[in-house]
């Protein structure tokens, strides 16, 4: 069991308010990701859950028990640190067993737990080594082993993969997901990497300036962002933000000296809002080369001058300008080559998943 409720949590360092009233309800067995740019308070929030940081006000409940004033030891939480924080003078096996020793478990039980965890993480051959004799990936495994051995109510992961090289990071990511599926223990995981957030999470809390901007499933966060910040933060290449003049229920795109009109879903609500301009948010994958069998009121054909292309392998990103703003379109590799040769492309733009933001506040309109 390991549900967590965070209620109106605030934390200040002197005059600086780092957490400004956080409310989160994390279900038992859930994989929750805290994501946001550096300085957004995600690590402070995690340390508060761990009990390593005292909170200024608000409550933290684990399984309904208020643990706000309990020491880390009493919260039954295990954490994996960014630097792994392995005890340098202890062998791998002692690193794993240290927490059990401190809790005065019987020796036989400690030994069988270490053996079990080592087998699970495939580090049996490393048990007698010192942390300094391990590679980055092996240290990562030992750090996870130390957390697993305790069999806690909640696991906390503080950017655990950021010190690994790209390939290993992807491998370990999958491994962590498999591990979670197998153990079913609640995980709170901090990262600034939106790909990690999307791939791992059951739910994501996107944070900025000490506040939760949006709390939802990866699908909701990606397709239905609460504001411009969330839309911008999640997704790579990022969403295009194009300031457009509103013409009744349509938007105007100015490109290569011509004006084109864009229909959007729920256009009647746009015309009722009575705004002169809005920010159109549209993801690059909704701006492609013309594809057959795709048609409808929300599918348009609009040309774009191609300034630069960036082949990614499976697809190619084309950079151009609409309304004097840089936009990115996602083309097939073949279309990318053609677009570069011609210097322009007629894009097929699907606005069915486009979102609209207030030009000033960045708040979501439609």
């Amino acid at each position: 069991m390991g549900s967590i409720q965070i209620q109106q949590l605030t934390k200040s360092f002197g005059d600086t308010e780092v957490l400004k009233g956080i409310d989160l309800d994390i279900k038992d067995g859930e994989f929750l990701i805290l994501v946001g740019p550096s300085g957004c308070g995600k690590s402070t929030l995690m340390n508060s859950i761990a009990g390593l940081e005292e909170v200024t006000s608000g409550d933290i409940l684990i399984d309904g028990d208020n643990v706000t004033d309990l020491s880390p030891k009493e919260r039954d939480i295990a954490m994996v640190f960014q630097s792994y924080a392995l005890y340098p003078t202890m062998s791998v096996s002692r690193n794993i067993s240290f927490g059990l020793e401190m809790r005065k478990l019987p020796k036989a039980e400690i030994e069988s737990t270490v053996a079990k965890v080592a087998k699970l993480l495939q580090i049996e051959h490393l048990l007698d080594r010192k942390p300094s004799q391990l590679s980055g990936g092996q240290r990562q495994r030992v750090a996870m082993g130390r957390a697993l051995a305790r069999d806690p109510r909640v696991f906390l992961f503080d950017e655990p993969l950021s010190n690994l090289d790209a390939k290993l990071r992807v491998e370990m990511r999958t491994e962590i997901k498999k591990l979670h599926k197998r153990l079913g223990t609640t995980i709170v995981y901090v990262t600034h990497d939106q790909v990690e957030a999307m791939t791992l999470a059951d739910r994501i809390a996107v944070m900025k300036d000490g506040q939760v901007q949006q709390f939802g499933t990866p699908y909701e966060i990606y397709n239905n962002p609460a504001n411009r910040f969330v839309a911008d933060f999640m997704g790579s290449p990022p969403m295009n933000f194009i300031e457009c003049v509103v013409l009744d229920d349509k938007l105007v795109i100015d490109t290569q000296g011509e004006k084109h009109e864009l229909h959007v879903a729920n256009g009647d609500r746009l015309s009722q809002a009575g705004l002169d301009t809005v920010i159109l948010g549209i993801r690059p994958e909704m701006m492609t080369e013309p594809k057959p069998h795709v048609a409808g009121a929300l599918v348009h054909n609009i040309p774009m001058q191609v300034d630069v292309i960036e082949p990614m392998g499976p697809d190619t990103i084309a950079f151009g300008q609409w309304n004097s703003v840089e936009v990115q379109a996602r083309l097939s590799p073949e279309a990318g080559v053609e677009a570069q040769e011609k210097g322009s492309i007629c894009l097929q733009v699907d606005t069915s998943k486009a979102v609209l933001f207030d030009a000033f506040s960045g708040a979501r309109i439609l």
């Binding site: 630097s83 240290f98 809790r103 300094s132």
Partner: protein
């Protein structure tokens, strides 16, 4: 070697000659002391100070150790050697232990005002011995520790704490705070973290502290002469008395042997643990 040009070879030769010269200058007193201590008194009077002894005569050493007169008593340096040990060892152990704990708190368990406290402690490194002589004498008398070994131990512990705290604090600052956090989540408390995580990492800095404190306390003369009684004088004070006590002619061979005996323990400590000394002083962050 053959690739060196003539000028380079000349410079190298010059360089080595200079080094040898200074080494010689530096070692000359030690040589004189050693050779003199093995000469008989007649040989010293008649011979050259730089000449080697004609035969190895150990009688000056035996006399310096067990029968030379220091003031009124004629028991040699031996009793004072053990006095010094009885002062140095407890003072050394206590000041290193407390310094380690201080450093641990000041680096990893910061509290409001801990930086000020550290600054104030550092100030202790710069207070000259003479300044505290009188107030400390008062304090020792008040505590009933005047002229006792315990009193001298206390003085040296207090004076050494500033240094040992500085050593340990600066060493422990390099240990990542995440280690402490990890240990706290593992259920370890203040002392368990110190014992299981910090102490095993501390060998180099413990050695630094031990060498430093041993040398300081063993070599101390001022506190020794001021705060000791007749039966509790350390070896430095006894050496002074021995050299200044003359019955008939001055026995240079005994004086030299006594001086070497008095200096030997610090030399041994440095030779045994010296390689850690430099390593400990220069050690930076601890690699995990």
């Amino acid at each position: 070697m053959s690739s060196l040009t003539r000028t380079q070879r000349l410079y190298k030769a010059l360089f080595i000659t200079l080094l040898l010269f200074f080494a010689l200058v530096y070692l000359a007193p030690l040589y004189v002391m050693l050779s003199t201590s093995f000469k008989g008194i007649e040989e010293i009077r008649s011979g050259n100070i730089l000449a080697l002894p004609s035969s190895l005569n150990g009688s000056a050493w035996t006399k310096a150790w067990s029968s030379a007169c220091t003031g009124g008593d004629c028991y040699g340096l031996a009793p004072y050697f053990w006095n010094s040990m009885r002062i140095v060892l407890p003072a050394l152990i206590i000041s290193t232990a407390i310094g380690a704990l201080n450093g641990y708190v000041l680096s990893q368990w910061r509290f409001a005002g801990s930086n000020f406290l550290f600054g104030a402690l550092l100030f202790g490194c710069f207070i000259p011995f003479q300044v505290i002589l009188l107030p400390m004498a008062k304090l020792l008398a008040w505590l009933g520790l005047a002229n006792t070994v315990s009193g001298l131990v206390l003085v040296h512990v207090i004076y050494g704490l500033a240094f040992t705290t500085l050593f340990f604090r600066n060493y422990y600052v390099g240990i990542p705070a995440e280690l402490v956090r990890a240990a706290r989540l593992d259920g370890a408390g203040f002392f368990a973290i110190f014992r299981h995580i910090f102490l095993p990492l501390s060998t180099p800095i413990v050695v630094v502290s031990v060498i430093w404190q041993f040398t300081q306390i063993w070599n101390d003369f001022l506190f020794g002469v001021v705060y000791s009684g007749p039966g509790t004088q350390p070896i430095t004070v006894a050496l002074n008395n021995l050299v200044n006590t003359t019955m008939g002619g001055k026995e240079y061979n005994v004086d030299m042997a006594a001086a070497i005996i008095a200096a030997l323990p610090t030399l041994v400590v440095y030779l045994v643990a010296g390689k850690y000394f430099v390593r400990g002083l220069t050690a930076g962050a601890v690699k995990g």
